[in-house]
Amino acid sequence: MTPWLDCSPAALLLSLEVAGVVLVLFLVAGIALGYALSQPIPFRNLLDALVSLPLVFPPIAIGFFLLMLFGRHGVIGDPLHQYLDWDLVFSFPALVMAAFIAGLPLVVKPIQSAIEGSARELIEVSYTLGKGRLETLFLVVIPVVRRHIAAGLTLGVGRSFGEVGMTLMLGGNILGSTETLSLAIYNQVLDGNFACATRLSILLGALSLGLFLLLRRLGRL
């Protein structure tokens, strides 16, 4: 019987790396967007719609459009390749992009609705007490909605482990390079290696279960 870590060890590491990077991105973008979308800023509705889109839009279709955009012959991918010699698709940044886009609405929405709800009056009080937007963000908003931030981050990171559609398209499911934990399970099943698929599923399941319990502890699920 093969030891546990013999089953696609790179995939586990890769999934953890992706999760780590998107966690940092979510922390910054989630709070910034959640705060911005709760304020009367210009183009608010458009921004809101863009962030929310992946909630309904199929990931495969999003992935395909991004592939067309960032591929070697795409509008953005072409100059990137020509002038910077950098290919986004089928690489680690592509995996991060997929996880980020898929998870972003799950991070932003709880933060946004918490700010619009319980924090709205507190923000207004802070303004009348002479504080600006940035001071208010750090002194009031973040401490008050910290549980919602934690819940959003957990949901977002959980999604990053499970994302398949966009990852297939942008990452390409290349063994040892862009094979995430979820894809590794699929690949092992295709190879008929059910023992490994079972172990990887248990591993992934345990990770997700941990996040799930954390979420219920935070009272957000």
């Binding site: 002479g130 600006g132 401490p143 008050v144």
Partner: protein, 354 residues
């Protein structure tokens, strides 16, 4: 002395608010009105949390808002001490840090301590807001607003979350503190006791329109129209269907007015609860529905022939009638206040503001 002057218009969906108001630096100016009349919106407009469609707001020589000059100071530069109805204390900060929050930078703890002492909050200084009672929260919110050195004070229902038997002492403390600072102070409330016991001036706001504004006792004793009377707690409003030879009549009976009614008659009349008395002679026919002893006087609830309720205050030394008794009520003509129909859109004369 710098007054707070506002003359503004605001619209949102079908709601329209148009008010012109001058708040002097001394005493307290109250705003009353039915729910949804725009009281809270007016406070938020003054504080800069909502933006008027047109008009201007000035504090003394300083312009806070002027649509023509395109001036719109953000809330943090107006420094209006706004107290929200539910106090909006920062839940993650202690009482002391709540009070210190609005202090200009560089100030020591000294002033915070002064305000904690002044509002009897020393013992709670390290507690979080959730561990406070309604009255304690109210004092923290007031201390926080005052410690930020505001230029005006705007208060939304400051006593609504305070237990009844504590309001009297909190009102007195509040009045003292406000008098010391001499700031233009606007108090929005639906509690007429707040107005009577605190306010020097009162404005009545109905459906976004400031219908009456003046010294408290004058507004209370002489409401300008029937809707103002209703807001100010005049329960005894009788519709008048006709008037002949100085007698106003309705389904409830008839009453002699002070003066003839040859040049028209009021839509309603109101009857002061103090003054009328039971009689065996001529008067309104009433049935006694309830008698309540209030300590120094008795409240009689009478039913008129058209089943309208009438509330009369009788001195305790008069013998109370039995329930269900049919009797007559003598209403002296100085107890009758004529109430014309509301004159919508009529501006309050400028003299009211000086």
């Amino acid at each position: 002395m710098p007054c707070l002057d506002a003359d503004l218009e605001f619209r949102r969906a079908a709601f329209r608010l148009a008010a012109r108001i001058r708040v002097p630096e001394t005493g307290i100016t109250a705003l009353v009105g039915p729910s949804g009349c725009g009281k809270t919106t007016l406070l938020r407009l003054l504080a800069g949390l909502e933006r008027p469609m047109s008009g201007c707001i000035r504090h003394g020589e300083r312009v806070w808002f002027d649509q023509g000059q395109r001036i719109d100071l953000p809330p943090r530069h107006r420094r209006a001490g706004l107290m929200f109805q539910d106090y909006a204390l920062f839940p993650h900060l202690s009482v002391a840090r709540n009070v210190a929050y609005g202090q200009p930078h560089g100030d020591g703890e000294g002033e915070v301590r002064v305000w904690l002492d002044r509002l009897q909050l020393q013992t709670f200084a390290e507690r979080r807001p959730h561990a406070l009672s309604g009255g304690q929260k109210q004092r923290v919110a007031l201390a926080r607003a005052l410690a930020s050195r505001p230029e005006v004070l705007l208060l939304d229902e400051p006593f609504s979350a305070v237990d009844l038997g504590l309001r009297q002492s909190l009102r007195l403390l509040f009045q003292e503190v406000v008098a010391e600072r001499a700031l233009p102070t606007v108090l929005v409330t639906h509690d007429l006791d707040d107005v009577r016991h605190l306010a020097d001036r009162v404005g009545v706001l109905i459906a976004g329109e400031l219908r009456q504004f003046g010294p408290t006792s004058e507004v209370f004793s002489h409401p300008l129209d029937v809707e103002v009377a209703q807001v100010l707690g005049w329960d005894n409003r009788l519709p008048v269907s006709g008037c002949e030879g100085g007698w106003a009549r309705g389904d409830w009976g008839r009453l002699r007015l002070n003066g003839s009614c040859s040049s028209g008659f009021p839509e309603h009349i109101a009857i002061r609860p103090h003054g009328p008395s039971l009689t065996d002679g001529t008067g309104l026919s009433v049935e006694i529905a309830r008698v309540t002893d209030m300590g120094g006087y008795r409240v009689l609830l009478c039913r008129l022939p058209d089943r309208t309720a009438l509330r009369i205050h009788l001195p305790s030394d008069q013998h109370p009638p039995a329930l269900g008794v049919q009797t007559r009520l003598r209403v002296p003509d100085d107890c009758i206040v004529p109430l014309p129909a509301p004159a919508l859109g009529a501006a309050i004369p400028a003299s009211a503001f000086t």
